[in-house]
Symmetry: C2
Subunit: 470 residues, 2 copies
């Protein structure tokens, strides 16, 4: 996705700040942001942009945005208000965002482990759903009011996003904004890995790590479209029932069992396709677990993520164990090793569009459907990230742009206070060192925003404790 | 292919020797070894086995076989006579061989660079065509008289070969024994690389190195089955017309031009699939020449073959430049690296059988057809190997088991004598060193065969000169 320029413009518009209000639980009922009929989109836009089609909108236009202020823990992503309507270049559209998807790359990016995100301050986020609010010149296939999902390398976690029209896809009838925000990254990733690199065919066997995650669920659904495919899925035991219902043939609790042994018991010759989001030593295991003509598709380094801040030991370990393969070994094993990451498929607009067209057809046919784990307000982004990073989700974690009702915010605050005391001491110990490191970074990042600094620092201290309590 | 046991039995039967008669030119008209009707096969078998169905056949049964007597030059493959009818184990068939295919692995094997061939003395050869002459117990799908092609890790270059019935495939109507011997290795290799690992689809681009070779021609034909595929083919200029007619879209003379530059001129973004039989630094070039989502399938190390004997510098260079890839690079490039070699697909009987069934259907539909470069007698195996190794072939080089008519042999001998004088001096110089090395090896290999040694040595000296003259 080449949306780099647009978000850069939007970054400059930051001039107000709003604290991220930590909240522990997601809304159990996702907000029903049902789409408006085409043309009515502007009227229904969030309050901050209510006067969006008035003449002096360039000045009065403002919108909330999540901004990564520096690399580090969950609290590094702050809710801010940007001002000024972003200008559209030819071929671009302005999307009034409804829901944003969280991806593992966002978690990596927060720790400074994803080079496709520009340096902070920057708005993260690779995908969102929403309504087209304005179209730039030369845009012929999108119009104001179109309900779309959008893909970008970053910049999607805000109420208003600018993307090339070619990176938007019309939301089909019956698909909610939550589903739409959960769709592009996970399904394109799963599809291209299984059907382009993997060349999945009937009677084959597939290992899906993190089978309850966004990509895992998408991959399982796509596997079921092919006759007699055996899916091995790893997940913690509490998720097994759900993933079994979703199509996983053999569930493996990777926390209590050696998944290699478990697979060999059932499939002694090994597997046809292995999707590897883990990296490090798990990539070696995957390679050895391949059948002749088997394909390993590695698409991440989740093993690098240990704790909420960059863990140098985990990163070093991952590098040390990074899989490297000689062609002679590939030849003698008749094996294939592939790497995939949508974030690096910059510029492959046509390929992505073709894949999305196929996937949307499958959605319409009822063959695939995103599963939403939980929907969070922008104010809760830290907890949303934590839920995903700690692997407590089943399905996709998404953010809604709907502001958090004040009452709800207060209630959560109270809940937190009660829990806080119990965990305070233990967390303090654990975090004391990290806090210092974090502070240093924070200072650098916040140089340009001098005004509200004092109050912010006070807030930060409090928050760091709050956030770690879970 | 797991035919190891059978050829081992056959090796022990060697007790007679017959000199390889060097011959410069292949027969321009391949011998028309048209198949006999089922049942008549034995009667028509080569003279050495004329009494094959008589009672004491275990003793009188004899057949000619090519035997690799030690690693080294072309002359290391000698024509010998084996005695005694090989016993069949359950599931095996005895094939009266008509034609044998030459493959690059055979050339590597002769130099000791292919670990799937047991130590000499051993009969090389991965494929042949012929007629089933006897069936072992439990063989239900083959009967005496069946015309078959056979695949094995080695042991196919002899008049009589024993293979598991599951490694034989019925020759379809209209396919000659030459075509049948040229079919399995090249077409299975090309098919699995393009359609299993490569996942070739319409509008894609493919680079085929050595496009006039056996695999190259098979790959080109298979590419043409898919709509709008662009084939880049490398070959020396004299072969361009032929490969263009065969379906290569853009011919590249790798001897005078940089193929990477030539490809980039036409396809600046790179290629979807690259088939790499070369290894070493060419694998690096191939990797860099891939598009995002591109697939590199490496299937050999032809760059290791420099000269007729093992060239340690070429081998070391190839090892030094051997391609090794980190997963991070694969991920950031969205690329796939695959290794293929049919010789290591041991035991994948079902997979091979499925692929052969598909390929034979394509043959029957007229979509693919092996191109025979030249047919040689067993006596000419050295020249046949040389032609292939020096890349002077267009299509497949095959050996016929038909004995060389005496008149023809004499004629060729005379031709050679005339040419010999001119080249003698220059060759002597070049070969003096090598001869010494070769002798040492020869002595080791021939320890067990003491009787005819004296005469043989005399012969060898003469032959070494003759063979190098070309």
């Amino acid at each position: 996705m080449s949306g780099e320029d647009a978000p850069a413009q939007q970054q400059n518009a930051v001039d107000q700040k709003q604290e991220t209000k930590p909240a522990e639980e997601p809304k159990t009922e996702p907000p029903k942001t049902e789409p408006e009929p085409a043309g009515a989109a502007e009227a229904a836009a969030a309050p901050a942009a209510a006067s969006a089609d008035k003449a002096p909108e360039e000045e009065t236009f403002s919108y909330r945005a999540l901004v990564l202020t520096g690399y580090g823990g969950y609290d590094k992503v702050k809710l801010q208000v940007k001002k000024g309507k972003p200008a559209l270049k030819a071929g671009e559209v302005l999307v009034r965002v409804k829901v944003c998807g969280l991806n593992f790359a966002d978690l990596m990016a927060r720790q400074g482990l994803y080079d496709q995100l520009p340096s902070p301050p920057v708005t993260p986020g690779m995908e969102c759903s929403g309504v087209v609010e304005a179209v730039g010149e030369e845009v012929t296939d999108r119009k104001v009011g179109d309900k779309v999902m959008a893909l970008s390398r970053f910049g999607m976690w805000q109420e208003v996003a600018v993307v090339p029209a070619s990176h938007t896809f019309l939301i089909p009838e019956g698909m909610s904004f939550e589903e739409a925000a959960a769709f592009p990254v996970n399904y394109i990733t799963a599809y291209m890995m299984l059907f382009d690199f993997g060349n999945l065919r009937p009677n084959q066997s597939v290992l899906v790590h993190a089978a309850a995650g966004g990509v895992g669920i998408a991959a399982t659904q796509l596997c079921k479209m092919v006759k007699d495919v055996t899916v091995f899925g790893t997940a913690s035991a509490s998720k097994h029932e759900t993933i079994s219902e979703g199509g996983v043939t053999h569930t493996i609790d990777y926390r209590t069992k050696d998944y290699v042994e478990e697979v060999r018991k059932i499939s002694p010759k090994g597997l046809d396709i292995i999707l590897d989001p883990l990296g490090g030593s798990d990539t070696h295991k995957a390679y050895n677990l391949l059948k002749p003509m088997g394909k390993l598709v590695t698409y991440g380094a989740a093993n690098m993520l240990a704790g909420q801040r960059k863990n140098l030991i985990a990163v070093a370990k991952n590098w040390y164990h990074q899989f490297s393969i000689h062609t002679l070994s590939l030849i003698q094993g008749n094996k294939s090793v592939c790497g995939f990451h949508l974030g690096y498929l910059d510029g492959e607009t046509e390929l992505i569009a073709q894949t999305m067209a196929t996937l949307l057809d499958l959605y319409k046919e009822g063959k695939i459907k995103p599963r939403i784990d939980s929907t969070w307000h922008f104010e809760q982004v830290g907890d949303a990230m934590r839920k995903m990073q700690e692997r407590n989700n089943i399905g996709k974690v998404v953010l809604t742009t709907e502001p958090m009702p004040e009452e709800e915010a207060k209630k959560e605050e109270a809940k937190k206070e009660a829990k806080k005391e119990d965990k305070k001491k233990e967390d303090k110990k654990k975090e004391d060192k990290k806090k210092d490191d974090g502070k240093k970074e924070e200072k650098k990042d916040d140089k340009k925003k001098e005004e509200p600094k004092k109050e912010e620092k006070e807030e930060e201290k409090k928050e760091e404790v709050k956030k770690e309590e879970k």
